[in-house]
Amino acid sequence: MPLDRDQITKRAARELQDGFVVNLGIGMPTLVANHIPDGVDVWLQSENGLLGMGPFPTEDKIDPDLINAGKQTITARKGAAFFSSSDSFAMIRGGHIDIAILGAMEISQEGDIANWMIPGKMIKGMGGAMDLVAGVKKVVVTMEHCNRKGDSKIVKECTLPLTGLRCIDMVITDLCVLKMDYDKRRFRLIEVAPGVTKQEVIEKTDAEILTDREPLEMAV
């Protein structure tokens, strides 16, 4: 059974370690915050200038001066810090963020990512995505394995305009977990969703992937 968004992000949350500084992208990745494992305490970074993002506010605590990168009203947790956009991206570009979890439209077999524009559609801009994939120590993508037409989103080469080159370390989809082997420059299949077979992943993946080890079952 393919996983739902909640299960995908639950698996992604297992990549978080105690004390990590974490940036979660807009959309599905924000759900990761709901699944942070017990005993793991992380600092959520919001690129508009906050380290230590808390939960959404109660109605009486809404403050228009306190929002996240998705422009949603939020709160700051104890120990939080505010800073400027240039300080925020110094943190991102300078490698001070332990992990970023992002969505994607396409991932190439070498770890390139395309997630900011579709030719012919209105371009909204890349926001902070290019800085995040270029600067964060570990970049994990959560996404559906195939698009609505059923085509693989993990491809030999991206056809959409790139966000970054050879920057993705792990891909977590509704079918499996793929981890980059930096020597071979290919993703290795390391886990499959319960009830999903290795063969099914291979058939639904356009990219060349390494399947030399028996995948474990994803714990979700």
Binding site: N48, P57, S86, F89, M130, D131, A134
Partner: protein
Amino acid sequence: MGGLLCYPARMKSKRYETSAAALDAARKAGCLSDGIQVMVGGFGLCGIPEKLIEALRDSGAKDLTCVSNNAGVDDFGLGLLLQTRQIRKMISSYVGENAIFEKQFIDGELEVEFNPQGTLAERVRAGGAGIPAFFTATGVGTQVAEGKETREFEFPAGSGRKRAYVMETGLWGKLALVKAWKADGAGNLIYRMTARNFNPMMATAAEFTIAEVEEFVETGSLDPDQVHTPGAYIDAVVVTKPEKRIEQRTVRK
């Protein structure tokens, strides 16, 4: 000598009574006219100099290039200047929330230069700091790097880690409009929470900078250790009552 120990009375306060008066001062300084580049602080609708933007609209200046992370919404923030077609070009990282923007862009009336958000922030910071260009890994191998110089560096030096970087240039404007929480007569600014965002950089990167603030305090009453933007960058201060519109009102269930 004694007079130098306190804030000298002869030193003029930077406070102006209205946004229009502050923009007039910018005009007199040769920093407000058609075709200029304007630096505008804010992230989404958070920390935008909303009353200064209205005053800029009322000034009638047109063919403006706006350096701003976003473009407001249809009826608020920089959207107001799009409505009146006073903006010719935007230099931004994300403009998703604006239908007027979309229409003018598709019709070819509005030029847009997309920058990665961190590159935009750093270009403004560099511009304000007198740095004409710098190299960054952001955007290497993408459309953003097309036509720009790319160079390989070993960084940190001696680490053996070689990587390609693209050259980006500093940004600078005639006029900067920023939003802060508090100011004093010397033009020292303190921002509040995530309303800080792009404002500190924008404040440094123009010939004439106007700060819109919620509170004006007596010079000497801000703790110097807490000042975010020192007064040297600020030419004029205006006190307003901002609406502070919220884009995505989200509450805990």
